[in-house]
Amino acid sequence: MTRAVRATPVILGLSGLTGLLLLVELLPYTGVVSADYLPPTHRIAAALGDELAEGAFWAALWDTLLAWAIGLTIAVVAGIVVGIVIGAVPVLRALTASTIEFLRPIPSVALIPLAVLLYGTEIQSTLMLVVYASFWQVLIQVLYGVQDVDPVAEETARSFGFSPWYRVRYVLWPTALPYVMTGIRLAAAVALVLAITAELVIGAPGLGSRIAVAQSSNAVANMYALIAVTGLLGVAINLAARGVERLLLSWHQSVRGEVLI
């Protein structure tokens, strides 16, 4: 792998982003949208500067990240445990398949009235939505991963008299891990989306509720600045998840193969 090969996507990505910023800067001048409702980039950037100087902004960012991290952790742990238990026992898998398919497509935001009743505008409301949405992402991937276990390897482990714990640890887990990592990466992004949504709609503390306040104050530039922050947060989370994935799966064909190209 040479430096040039790696740098190209980064340069392309950055120029794409620059293009977007330029487009937003120019759009208000073309008359397609009014600068009152989509301020040019430099005004959004100035508003972002103002936000960064506010303590309340950092508190909101912290609240969002906290809800995201706690929610994701709960969803990942629950998804992995439930996925392995259900996946490893065929009867359970058959018994729960229809229930999972029924619950999975329910949009998390539909639970907002319930969340509000149980927890008001506390962080728990956000957590409930985040966990519900991200849990399925992990669970489904774990189930696929468990299904992918080589039956010969599984039978071999059985005939050697491996205990269930050893079979999970040395046969099932290495096969499922790439799937689990995909699930976690998907869940990380979904968790952020839901955390912001919950804050925006319910008013739980965080970037979302700050966006809502900016909106109801007609502070349009600040609102877009905060939205840009959530976008950057999403990029950062995705990059971090990919980094972790590459690190944990460095032994795996999918990652090794990528490096060889």
Partner: protein, 312 residues
Amino acid sequence: MVAALLGAAACGSSDSPSSPADEGSPTKVTVGVIPIVDVAPIYLGKEKGFFSSRGIDLTMESGQGGAAIVPGVLSGQFQFGFSNVTSLMLAQTQGVPIKVVANGVASTGKDGGDFGGVTVKGDSPIQSAKDLAGKKVAVNTLKNIGDTTVRESVRKAGGDPSTISFVEIGFPQMPAALAEGQVDAAWVVEPSLSVIKAQGGRVVAWNYVDAAPDLTVATYFASNKLMQENPDLVKRFTEAMNESLTYASAHADEVRQVLGTYTQIDQKTRDAITLPQWPTEINKASIETLATLGKNDGVFGDKTPDLSQLLP
């Protein structure tokens, strides 16, 4: 739906922090508010120590559009909440056990100078409330205080309110919706009202003023459960709230300042907005008018709000 809400509310009421205060340690009180101009007195009153001097450790939690506030009060997450009177009467007709404990905000009663009104674009052919008949008018919530009072404006001006088509758009989006011509008129409150005026918009109807003199728009309320379990806390809150309302009425400059602490309304708009009135007296006659308007417009279904249950 409401029955389900109530059922679930009962389950969630376990850990309300509303137990009576020991001597010396203040009672933690959380109030569900909407982060708008209307609730400035409670923020100002907190700053001035009107609540802490009565042993209340006050926290404001802002729910978007008030959707979270009534359920929040029922479940005990909030000890008190802020909501418009029509929403409270609607809740009352559905059997939701809540009661008003203090006045919230009132119309200025001034035709031409209220904090909410029906706006049109500067070049709109609509000249008066009568012209709104047959037009598309934006309100923030359908079947609520906005559309019933707008209908009354049109009726009083001699128009036919039944031909108006109301559409639901959030206040912050209304200036854009009006400018883009998505609606013919928009009922807005501050600060969106100032934004529209600054863009050359006109006000064609002062619907709060038309509905009733010095209309009580919104109030603070508590659950019946809290009223029974901790009447002393309710009494202290009401006193502190009344002191806050009185102080806010007399100190407009400080109100405009405190707005900057919990909203992001810029300085220029803060100086320009028309402030509402904050009397301590609840205008019962105006609430009766709202009840009648709402009933005639079918807001409460086939029920009639029982104001003796709702008002103190």
